[in-house]
């Protein structure tokens, strides 16, 4: 999937991945896509909730070797 920005939050715990994502999205244009990698198992549920609440779109989430990859589209 194409993306406009890549954010590595591996090794960071709650709530840092969400806070970093929010900051990155703020600097992006509407419709642009952020790719984010996290090792925080709680981030799966947290990003679903974050997108539900903020109106940004969670395009996909996948897991490989305990790394969680999210594609978020700025609203």
């Amino acid at each position: 999937m194409d993306f406009n920005k890549d954010l590595d939050t591996r090794g960071l715990s709650c709530p840092l991945p969400i806070l970093r994502a929010k900051k990155a999205l703020n600097e992006m244009q509407s419709g642009q896509v952020l790719r984010l990698v996290s090792t925080d198992a709680g981030s799966v549920k947290d990003f679903e909730a974050f997108c539900r609440q903020t109106g940004n779109v969670l395009l996909s989430q996948t897991e490989a070797n305990k790394e969680y990859i999210f594609f978020l589209q700025r609203k």
Binding site: G11, L12, S13, C14, P15, L16, I18, L19, A21, K22, T39, D40, F50, Q53, T54
Partner: protein
């Protein structure tokens, strides 16, 4: 022709029609109001130790990231969290049986041991609290958990409103100069309660 319409019949028709329309209209209006309202949270932060510094700052920074309006009212020992330098916050395992006492270094089998140190020993050993705090800070770092100073500045950056309780500032002999300049307001219970009344979420920590 020429007959006056029965007023009670008209009233009955109007009433029936209103009964049909109003509930739907009301539901739409309420949903719209809910969608347009920015959620808000107020927190009363009353603890001044390293462990208890986390919940107010984690919840506030996250709420701000979700687009909420957040105010924290710092009172009693919570005022410690507003001090300019918060690198010296401490944790005490003494009388805290819920706190796991594990070492943040060494092989896994060693890190897995829960050191059951009697209160009497903890209380009698000089510097035990500082020792425990050092271990806790190391554990925090090892786990990629944010430092308290970092979380606090993330909160401030995101516009979290921090308020000091004037009564406890006086009680403990602090001055406003002891605290970060971002604290714009010092007030009391009468100012906090109306804020909490309007908020969707209010927490006492």
């Amino acid at each position: 022709m020429g007959t006056t319409p029965d007023i009670t019949l008209i009233e009955e028709i109007v009433r029936q029609r209103l009964d049909e329309i109003l509930p739907k209209k009301l539901e739409e209006t309420l949903a719209q109001m809910k969608a347009n309202k920015t959620p808000s949270m107020t927190i009363i932060a009353t603890k001044g130790t390293l462990d208890w510094a986390y919940p107010p700052f984690i919840l506030s920074s996250t709420a701000a990231a979700l687009g909420w309006n957040v105010s924290i009212f710092f009172t009693f020992y919570g005022l410690q969290l507003l001090k300019k330098d918060i690198s010296d916050l401490k944790i005490s395992p003494l009388g805290n049986p819920g706190m796991p006492m594990k070492m943040p270094f060494g092989p896994d089998w060693f890190k897995g041991i829960n050191w059951n140190i009697p209160n009497l020993v903890q209380a009698g050993m000089p510097g035990f609290e500082s020792f425990a705090t050092t271990l806790m800070q190391r554990t925090i770092k090892n786990n990629g958990v944010a430092g308290i100073a970092e979380l606090r500045s993330l909160c401030l950056e995101a516009g979290v409103n921090m308020i000091g309780c004037q009564m406890t500032v006086d009680l403990f002999g602090f001055t406003h100069e002891d605290f970060i300049p971002e604290v714009k307001e010092y007030c009391g219970a009468a100012s906090f309660l109306p804020m909490a009344q309007e908020a969707d979420v209010t927490l006492f920590i």
